[in-house]
Symmetry: C2
Subunit: 281 residues, 2 copies
């Protein structure tokens, strides 16, 4: 469980690092970034996971997410994994489309060949990477939060719903709330998991809540001018499901905002403050 | 003096735009970005110019500078021009090196062929682009500030020193303080202006101050672990020159920080607050 340091840069009094390791979950090298804020020697700090969206690597949010200032002020470690396995021998979408294969792991364990060999992002994010973080960083793994954007919002919601008690708080920007109900989800889960849609329910936040999973609270921000809102994201499905079963949730439509990091960065500080409030103590 | 809108994104309640226009100064299309913060209809807002460093376009600081939050809070328009002319017929460095030609205009008017035709970044930044900003954005041109990074720090300092009274405040991150005294400067000014070094003094902040130019104040932050500090940036030359003639200046060495946007973004908010204090009223 050794990791290689790709780069470190001092920022906001802490250290923004990028690291690489040989993943047993995916059978590939994986790269991730970790921001460790300024802290007292020996202190263990709460951890925020950020899962990114389609086409992204660890680098997008690391460069454009504007999270370091808030993490430095609030004392949060911020972890940004990659969105899929990569490298020689890793199969991609047949037409190299952006919404399947490389950069589009959907945070599932694929069961369908040829994807089942490397596309095990669920194992990677839920099990392997947390152990690496615990071993190599001053992380208090009793105080974890999770958030994500778009495909990564789907990842954050579903991983948290499937692992009750692991994350003290869960939030998302413009999440894909129901892969069962949109073209991105149908393509991805069909390709990775197969055509038995009952198997998809473990990877669908609306279905998980319908099937009884609960979280203490949820925070979701969605841009009102997001091009993907009606066709893919369908925020209202989550709003309605939460309301119908009494799942506490703050789901906000933000007029004028789109799907980009200009949107994410605008509300990043507020989300991190919300998480920090729940990670205290 | 028409401009074309390349993109707009809502961010922090304002609008981050990217625009393109046919420049008469450079004889090329030029692209720049402008962030307009939330404001009352009809209000005119103070303007901060940010000049970028070698290899950059408008996009680097726009994506990684983390200026929008502070600009939204302080009510500042933030302008990021490109660093050189680009396009068909624009000559580059003979070996396409990063430190001359494309992405390396050094904010001068070139006098040497073949660069004298397009490399007129001084005219562009000092005259043409301000007129465009005044015509197309809610900018109060009586309240301007200027800042920059590295080559752009050189640009900010020298443009402000040559135009006394135009900018109420001037700051820089890791500026090239004396092109007369470093390899980057010698290559660039030699190539653009020719070998008569007396002509370079108008493009050298240390020489301009030695020759009598003054500003009300200066703010400079320099990373202590910047790889270019000793060989190219030589901050101490500016510190010494300011001290020797009584030019007010706050020139700070920031231990541990490098030359990257991780450094810039850390201190961006503080610089913008400093500018805003001087732009008020």
């Amino acid at each position: 469980m050794t990791i290689e340091t790709v780069s470190t840069n001092v920022a906001f009094g802490g250290v923004q690092g990028v690291y690489r390791h040989a993943s047993t979950a995916t059978g590939t090298d994986m790269t991730f970034s970790v921001y460790v804020p300024p802290h007292e020697e020996g202190a263990l700090l709460p951890v925020v996971w950020f899962l990114s969206g389609l086409t992204c690597t660890h680098a997008n949010v690391t460069e454009k997410g504007e999270f370091r200032r808030a993490c430095a002020e609030l004392g949060l470690i911020f972890i940004a994994p990659d969105t899929s396995p990569r490298g020689e021998g890793v199969p991609d979408d047949a037409e190299a489309a952006y919404d399947f294969g490389l950069g589009a792991g959907f945070y599932v364990n694929a069961t369908q060949a040829p994807f089942d060999k490397h596309y095990r992002m669920q194992d990677y994010i839920e099990n392997e990477l947390p152990a690496i973080i615990a071993a190599h960083f001053p992380a208090d793994m009793q105080r974890q939060a999770i958030m994500g954007h778009s495909m990564g919002g789907h990842g954050a919601l579903t991983i948290s719903l499937r692992n009750p008690g692991r994350f003290r708080s869960t939030s998302a920007f413009s999440p894909i709330v129901s892969p069962l109900s949109c073209p991105w989800g149908e393509k991805a889960l069909g390709g990775y998991i197969g055509q038995d849609r009952t198997q998809w329910r473990a990877y669908d936040s609306v279905a998980l809540i319908a099937d009884g999973a609960r979280l203490p609270d949820l925070l979701v921000d969605q841009g009102g001018d997001d091009n993907f809102l009606e066709s893919q994201l369908k925020t209202h499905l989550l709003t309605e499901q939460c309301a119908s079963v009494g799942q506490p949730a703050t789901i906000r439509m933000q007029p004028g905002y789109d799907h980009s990091y200009y949107f994410i960065s605008t509300f990043m500080g507020e989300h991190l403050t919300w998480h920090a409030d729940r990670l205290k103590g």
